[in-house]
Symmetry: C2
Subunit: 411 residues, 2 copies
């Protein structure tokens, strides 16, 4: 076979080359790289000797998770990515005679959760989202709490129930208390929602009891995924005082299968907006940056309707990922390779850029309508939420693919 | 050597035989059982053939964590414990001729964190504690929030910063805002506190999307440890709305090294008090039980003073561990072997049974005084907090040993 060519508009261009974990027909899991509609089996490439000069123990690629590969450090993981990029550019590379051993169509393979997640933290870093939720859950006059502009607020989430895109899940049950009820009752959630987020995958252990310098914090991110922090708003609202979200969130979260590396997102860095009030010194960056990544949410109904219901952007965050890391570790808390730091729901300032149904339908008051006349306030059984993300600059496109989950009925 | 004899008052009696993980002089880690002042190397016993009839892959004992051993299931783990109990009773067992290969003095060995913790959940199940904190942090008139008597409130904590007893730690830094300050400032915590808790070690994976029946929930607990949820009250108070505790807690938590099995605590089960209002069906137990385990906290100052500052009991919980498990999983959230479910601070009704300094000194208003004239409101550099726990019934004593940490100065 010749060298492969791919669609110019693919999320998985030669500039991207994200890492994931795949298997085929129940085979063992290997590290993979996405390229157009294909994947490259990185373990197979390693066995062919592509990375020989880097002196890597190639068992890191024969692995159910990326963690061991990530643990090699950025110098080596970047070198591996660049070596693959070089291969894809070299039409006469001898490997193309052996491509049956390392090349698969994406439709033929199964993708898995890319990292073994130790701890998962969910931030709350979009001002618009925090304001919107504050107005609905608490007090419209004091929607943003006094601490919000002084620190990237966050809580610990549940790692065990994070699954990869394509996983479908049953509508969760729990305690719900409507405002007009005196006592709580037990039922399936009636307000099932998504949250559009990005997840930073930690690429380097931080030392316990040693804070990470905000200006060096980006070294601790291996890459990014799309993240959906599925939420049961009625369960959440009844339970969340005083210790925060618990069962309203921990039934299921999902992430996209391909980890787009920090290097691939380098061209899409933009300066962050000035922060007022100025944060404390440990949060002050020399050059704060956000990522200009377009984010889209499609609502696909069980009847087959599909509608783009949100056009947001990773840049709509008040706090940068580096500030999140500096804050998380300033008290000595240690981050580990594979940990996920989710951004919190990314809502822009306008209703078409809101990142959750709670905000888009304003607590269920403004239903979304579809072409067939049906409507939704929250997610119903059989519906799917599909998130997409991509960055584009001149001819360079780097995308995240899709994050897709379908809701099933409660037993 | 003859069969060993131990002190009658030892926490680690023949009725206990808790499991832990040890090493000696930097050797590899093995599973161990405590007996008096001794430990038995369970891997060494396995190599001698003690568990041959159970058909166990003995590599589970040559392991840095108990997880693989626990994963064998209660039938096998109980059988292993009983086999060791039998050995300890048989004076003429041939193994006593070979005891140099499996027997060590506890003072000679190092104990490690016994389980690899996937997720850590901290409950809030002592009514007295919830009331006390509510009075100080929020509104004395409405100290207990409306949801508290309807569900075991909890939040997710940080797994990466849980360490074993004996680990010392530096006073954490963070954002603090005193009530009379307009803006937050950055400093070491001035209100460093402990929280006296028990930790349940999950012994069986629960299925994702399948709740655990409250009447079968105790099958999911392998055993218990003492747990100290170290807290920085000033950091916590400024950050905790609306998403709960984060940096005020995740700098450090600690647990005792020996996991006392559920079987060993069986004789100390007592019926729980009736709950009013009656909980929803999924939380209703046929026979709710607490554990009658005496808990003590000693404050040891850097000047060498030691004072017993709390005498509490594991039974002082409104919600049982089974109810905590049923609640945690009712929305489909999955528990995994090695997860820790901490009870929340265990405070009795009277001030001498309060489980934190926040409560004992009532927010710093009532200092603890020591015989040398010194006093404390919160923990100072060089001070240690030592927790102890033991159950006693007739001649049967089952104890947890000590959970001991010393606070070091901030860098």
């Amino acid at each position: 076979m010749d060298m492969i060519t791919i669609d110019k508009n693919s999320d998985f261009s030669i500039h991207n080359l994200p890492f994931g974990v795949y298997s085929i027909n129940g085979s063992e899991k290997h590290v993979a790289v996405a390229y157009g509609d294909y994947i490259l089996d990185v373990y197979a490439l390693a066995k062919l000797g592509l990375f020989e000069e880097f002196k890597i123990d190639i068992s890191v690629f024969k692995n159910a998770f990326l963690n061991d590969f990530i643990a090699l450090g950025k110098i080596k993981t970047s070198a591996v990515r660049l070596k693959i990029q070089q291969l894809l550019k070299e039409e006469d590379h001898p490997f193309w005679q052996k491509n049956a051993t390392f090349l698969y169509k994406q439709v033929a393979i199964t993708l898995h959760l890319p990292v073994k997640i130790g701890d998962y933290t969910d931030f709350y870093s979009s001002e618009s989202h925090a304001r919107n939720v504050g107005m609905m859950f608490r007090d419209p006059e004091n929607a943003l709490l006094p601490n919000w502009k002084h620190m990237p607020i966050a809580y610990h989430g549940r790692a065990s129930s994070i699954f990869v895109s394509g996983t479908n899940f049953k509508r969760p049950k729990g305690q719900i208390k409507a405002k007009d009820q005196e006592l709580p009752s037990f039922s399936s959630t009636k307000r099932l929602d998504f949250e559009l987020e990005m997840g930073a995958i930690i690429g380097k252990d931080s030392e316990w009891q040693s804070g990470v310098d905000v200006n060096k914090a980006s070294d601790y991110v291996f890459g990014y995924v799309l993240f959906n922090d599925w939420s049961a708003r009625d369960i959440q609202q009844w339970e969340y005082v005083p210790l925060g979200p618990f069962l309203g969130k921990n039934f299921f979260s999902s992430m996209s299968p391909w980890v787009v590396t920090s290097e691939a997102l380098e061209p899409f860095k933009i300066p962050t907006k000035p922060q007022d009030p100025a944060p404390l010194d440990y949060l002050k960056e020399k050059e704060g940056t956000q990522f200009d990544v377009n984010l889209e949410v499609y609502f696909e109904t069980k009847e087959g309707q599909s509608k783009l219901i949100s056009k947001s952007n990773f840049k709509h965050l008040y706090w940068t990922v580096s500030q999140q890391i500096a804050h998380h570790t300033v008290n000595g808390c240690n981050l580990k390779i594979g940990d996920v730091l989710a951004s919190g729901t990314i809502s822009g300032d306008t209703a078409d850029a809101f990142g959750s149904l709670l905000e888009i339908t304003w607590g269920g008051k403004n239903p979304i309508t579809f072409d067939d006349g049906s409507s939704r306030t929250f997610v119903e059984d059989g519906d799917s939420i599909v998130m997409r993300g991509f960055a584009q600059k001149d001819d360079i496109k780097v995308g995240f693919g899709a994050l897709n989950n379908t809701v099933l009925a409660t037993d």
